[in-house]
Symmetry: C2
Subunit: 314 residues, 2 copies
């Protein structure tokens, strides 16, 4: 909502489209939401899903409720923009097939690495090349915790600091156990490879001690939670695990809540993309770029008012 | 040609399209071109421009002849993919307007930073954000020369080595005088900013001595040719100039013929993209991705044979 307001003039001049928010679905209607027109707020999903709008933006998270909303939006011919990695990781293929049959767009740049345009890079930028491997620091919470442990904090203190600074949820187990990184890796691997998963394993950072960090330092290394998918005989191997990374490695220089992805293409060589992987503004920028590309693709709101339905529990 | 052959099966399976090369325009028909069907080779431009094909790929370089070919292709309703930074830098706005009126695509990912998808990142990935600045190492030849000078070579020897290794043309003045980087910067700035250029200056690396490199090292720095465009009062300021860069800076780690671009968005924060900025295979991968996206956009060859006309003097 904030970006639609601040970027509205530029978007109108450049893309010839006036973005209008048609409705905002929330769980708690009482909470103060500065800048949001109260008349747009509703707790009834159908008010937004069945509103007269061009694009539905799903920022609810979770698999079941969000999934039923996305399916209804697609069935009603709406383009959908989502930042929901859990949903795409669980039933992405089904939803993409459904969207393709309905002739609508399903965009999800914000689901992996916030504003870092890695989804676009894999979908379009590297369409002409065969991808050999993808490796990334995909979870900002874990990277923040590991960086603070390099400053001498123990795991629990570093995690509390991450929570106090808003880089980690109160319930951080999806992050620190590696599941969040694994979901993002699955989304990237689906984009990059047309091959079955042969092996997959996920280890988080919960067991990492201050001693392990000190030992790594003594060896000229740091520890990073690296998610990697690569071609092996007969398919793909996927792993999320803490790794010893030499200080000269590009991943060693990814600090705090930053994210980075290294893509190796057969013809393109190595590409590194890095930036802020989380936070409300980078995520909003990625969502808004997706909304604008929906219009660009279908041209159905290229010269007119585009109404956006927004489902968000913030 | 090589990539269309090696990636053909994957492209058919994934995108449902069979790419076929309809003609190849060259200057020298006698030269050996392994893998190219001799019957496709012609020295007559109209054989390719007026062939029954969906996309024209322009890899000729230069402004005048290439420009007239691109205009004719657009006028005949063909999508165009080009890697020609000189052409776009000189008359990009005219060509984009012409392509838009004709309802065809004009794609140019390969014109800046080879396979690094920075054009896509600015066109689409950051469409929802206001760009504040772009800074990059955009010329691989200069970066290779500067990196070799750090090893103790003087400018002339480092340049000869670049030429011997195929990273620099025999006539390297466009590279070492900064004009190549300036052309690429103009293309990126056109994508990022809707504002007039207030100031612009270009300095190359020709005057840099072995002593300057040693002085930089003593100060904990390296020298990099940095191209930057940023918002100033009333417009944009563009510069290409050698800069002292601290060893901890991301640009200091860009070595040899690598390229890198740092984009600062108001909401997105800093994004870094880096990779191989030149070379035939990375360039070909970027061109082929653009060709595939032409089909994706217009869907006019989504289920069929797509014929590609190729103008290339290699």
């Amino acid at each position: 909502v904030q970006l639609v307001a601040s970027e509205g003039t530029r978007i109108r001049e450049r893309y010839g489209v006036e973005l209008e928010i048609a409705g905002v679905l929330v769980r708690d209607p009482v909470r103060e939401r500065p800048g949001v027109d109260r008349r747009l707020i509703t707790t009834c999903a159908l008010d937004v899903l069945d509103a007269d709008c061009d694009v539905i933006v799903e920022l609810i998270g979770g698999v079941h409720t969000a999934g039923s909303f996305v399916r209804r939006a697609i069935a009603r011919g709406r383009d959908v923009v989502t930042a929901n990695k859990a949903l795409l990781s669980a039933c992405g293929r089904e939803l993409f097939t459904m969207a393709e049959r309905a002739g609508v767009a399903l965009r999800f740049e914000a689901s992996v690495c916030g504003a870092v345009p890695v989804v676009r890079a894999l979908r379009h930028g590297l369409a002409g090349d065969s991808i050999e491997s993808i490796a990334g620091i995909l979870n900002g919470t874990c990277n923040y915790v590991l960086t603070r442990m390099e400053d001498g904090l123990d795991f629990a203190t570093a995690l509390s600091l991450a929570q106090a600074n808003g880089f980690a949820e109160a319930e951080a187990s999806l992050d620190v156990d590696g599941e969040d990184a694994a979901q993002k890796l699955r989304i990237l691997a689906d984009l990059a490879f047309d091959a079955p998963v042969r092996r997959a394993w996920v280890t988080g950072i919960r067991g990492i001690s201050a001693e392990a960090i000190a030992d790594a330092r003594a060896a000229g290394c740091v520890i990073r939670l690296v998610a990697e998918a690569r071609r092996v005989a007969g398919g793909i191997e996927m792993s999320v695990a803490p790794r010893l990374v030499p200080r000269s490695d590009p991943f060693a220089r990814v600090v705090d809540e930053q994210n980075a992805v290294l893509i190796r293409g057969r013809a393109s060589g190595e590409l590194l993309l890095s930036g802020r992987g989380a936070g409300s503004l980078p995520t909003a920028a990625a969502v808004l770029s997706d909304v604008l590309e929906c219009g660009d693709r279908s041209r159905h709101f290229a010269t007119d008012r585009a109404a956006v339905g927004l489902g968000a529990e913030v």
